[in-house]
Assembly symmetry: C2
Homo-oligomer: 465 residues x 2
């Protein structure tokens, strides 16, 4: 695994807090090695740094109690959802208390006529959508994993639908947050827009638990469109596929999804998801609208695709076919690992202005090949966001060094193109050096905000700042 | 006028800074009474609190110089755009330096293929749209006034198109900001989405110049739709009009604009804009999409309107007719003043969840009548946001008291409905007591952020916090 810096531990404080929490929460405070290991690790490529205990609260009041106890004794608090973050977000480099929010999994209210809902942080996106379906509503944000909505807010997640519906930043209306001193606040009312003071909602979205712990999320919902159609189209090269994406976006076709899989990814998906797709760069699309609207959109896209040598264009309104394709897309992280069994993927997450997309993806593919890396590429290309996933033997330090060199090179390339090192995964532990390169002078003020709200640095220390 | 609290003045510091700036900026540092009066006042209903000097910088570096000078001597800095804010945002309750940004009015870049642009803060929304038109692009956010884009970012402005295109929060990609210590930062790269650290962009949008001074704005742009049609429809009551709005939103019709004018507003518009509309509650709409799409949308709305007793439904694709209607809508602030010449309007700005819209607008109209106030109502009702504009004789303390009672009652009503006291105007000086009612415990953390970034409280003091 990739090493992470350990931070000084407050042994006395930790011992005291674990004692208090055990007494207070009984079986809901666990200190066994395997549960602690699971709560520090999960899908990241970064080495495991265990918390000292895992607590399972049932309410904001209980979270507040935990945070107040930790604050008093200056002990770290690390929020935990499904553990599907990728940049070491749930590691405990200074030890401390992992707060597992998955027992706070109630859907508190669905305001169908306002197109919003209020959920606890442990509700997953799939749970929410299952609950909403009967009411003709859905929540569009879909990272690959079936992540918790609190975690998705914390990492400013997005996914395949972001090109049309935005990211968590655009879809969180308000939050309830337990602040670093244990106080419970609400960041906004439920109105659709507001100019009422500093935007604490957006400050907490993407703060990765370093400024407070989210205990309730008010989300915007969407009506299930009258018609949905999906399409796929193969291209002779990555460049051709990206050129088609760029023109689709610039034409203003309101695609709901437009996803790229390179040839390597298609071959991985064919195996993992039992598909039979041509093994060349592929675009997967989805269109939302009226019956006539989705036909119009698919036709316009078809014309664009043809211009760039697209072939095997197939549009369908069959729900079954559509679900199969999108399930395969969501399983790509796991499917890709099949390309090199035993290896671990180091996901990159750059996002560039759309005009740079073709140049950037092509350069990334060329560089990986030049470096001898097996590195499939998938991407939410309508937003200029894509992931290379170099598959690395984590017992081989040379390979790790090579992968890190590739990741660094790619992040630098994105930054030089006025893009970002992370479109949706967040900074965590892994991307901190690149955040500094990307936003340099702004970091001083992020640090000032962190110090002002969390002077003892107890909230998820070692992440972002 | 409504009185505003004066804050302690740092006379020595102010005198020193004015001397330095006069020497440094020559004619671009003005101290005449009338120019100072103009820079503290403009469209607000709050009494004039003059700055001590007005400086006209040409670059971020010059702004940085001004802020560093003020920071050294602990003298207030108040940013100024077109002065069209409504809540005393540009007043100088502790004196200090008004920084007029209107000479920083260059459009620095239009990245047509990325659908974004970079502008200086003094570019107005109309200037930008004139510049963009030839490229088939537009910037959708349109407060009534032809405001500056820096000012619009600072107040988190929106307007009639927000129901479809969002507010400034959704349309600012990145900012260049001169921080309270004079350092120049960039809050984000130009990528369409990002999870790179705290969202300083969104923190600065709506901060009303209290955390820094915006010197560059990167904005998302939209392609001019293939087809635009507009429509108007009269209703027997405010309730009926609002019910039609609620159903339109709940049906997911992607209206670009849906605006309410009450009967009083229609009569004011008829006079001011030489129209001949039936003097009953009116909805104005606009649809954006493909040729077929806008027809579909208008038809679906027509069916809904009929259900609620809508009459005189008229849709048109004529640009001239459309512009005439929307110009009338944008002129409503001035038109309303014609209802009572010599009086001053005290604009309210509440925004409630859409399910509460009919109840809330009706209650507001009834209350104004009960209190004997002349108070036309207009609103961006698709977002649940509307403005009552009680027209007050500002020389009559009893009337002012009555208006303030009405405003307070209405803000409390909105807050009780999980809404906000301000959908788009901001807090400024006028709405501070309501912000406290609305977000209570959260205010402590807003204040902590303010103190961390601006420990001497020099950036637009007396606003928000």
């Amino acid at each position: 695994m990739v090493q992470a810096t350990a931070l000084p531990r407050n042994e006395t404080g930790i011992e005291t807090v674990v004692g208090i929490l055990k007494q207070r929460f009984g079986d809901r405070c666990q200190t066994g090695a395997s549960i602690r290991e699971q709560h520090g690790h999960t899908t990241t490529y970064i080495e495991n740094q265990l918390p000292d205990a895992v607590v399972f609260p049932h309410s904001a009041e209980e979270v507040s109690e935990i945070v107040k106890t930790c604050a008093l004794h200056k002990v770290p608090v690390i929020p935990f959802g499904t553990g599907t973050s990728l940049e070491g977000h749930v590691n405990a480099p200074a030890g401390g208390i992992s707060v597992d929010l998955m027992q706070m999994n109630k859907i508190l209210a669905v305001h169908a006529s306002d197109l919003d809902c209020v959920v606890q942080p442990g509700v997953t996106r799939e749970d929410l959508n299952t609950h909403l379906r009967d009411q003709g509503l859905f929540f569009p944000i879909d990272p690959g994993a079936n992540a918790s909505l609190g975690g998705m807010a914390s990492t400013r997640a997005s996914g395949t639908n972001a090109v049309r519906y935005g990211t968590m930043k655009d879809n969180v209306l308000a939050l309830q947050v337990v602040m670093p001193d244990g106080e419970i606040i609400r960041t906004a009312q439920r109105a659709k827009k507001s100019s009422a003071g500093y935007d604490l909602t957006r400050l907490m979205v993407g703060a990765e638990g370093t400024l407070g712990l989210i205990t309730e999320v008010t989300l915007r919902l969407q009506g299930i469109p009258e018609a949905i159609s999906s399409a796929r189209c193969s291209f002779p090269s990555i460049d051709a596929a990206c050129q088609a994406v760029m023109m689709t976006i610039q034409y203003g076709i309101p695609v709901a999804r437009i996803e790229l899989l390179d040839a390597l990814s298609v071959s991985a998906a064919n195996v993992y998801s039992k598909l039979d797709l041509p093994e060349t760069p592929l675009l997967l699309l989805e269109f939302h609208g009226s019956e006539r609207g989705v036909v119009e959109q698919a036709e316009t896209f078809g014309t664009i695709a043809e211009e760039f040598g697209g072939s095997d264009f197939a549009a369908t309104t069959s729900t079954e076919e559509r679900n199969k394709l999108w399930q395969a897309r969501h399983d790509m992280y796991w499917a890709s690992h099949g390309l090199r069994p035993g290896a671990k993927g180091l996901s990159t997450d750059i996002c560039v202005p759309i005009s740079k997309l073709a140049e950037c993806v092509t350069a990334a593919a060329d560089k990986a090949e030049e470096m001898g890396l097996i590195s499939p590429i998938v991407g939410h290309v309508g937003d200029g966001n894509f992931h290379c996933l170099p598959l690395i033997d984590m017992d081989n330090p040379e390979e790790i060094a090579k992968a890190e060199e590739f990741v660094g090179w790619l992040n630098d390339l994105a930054i030089s193109m006025d893009g970002t090192c992370t479109g949706e995964h967040g900074i965590g532990q892994g991307k901190r050096p690149y955040l500094l390169k990307e936003l340099g002078p702004a970091m001083k003020y992020m640090a000032a905000i962190k110090s002002a709200l969390d002077p003892d640095n107890i909230m998820n220390p070692g992440k972002i700042i």
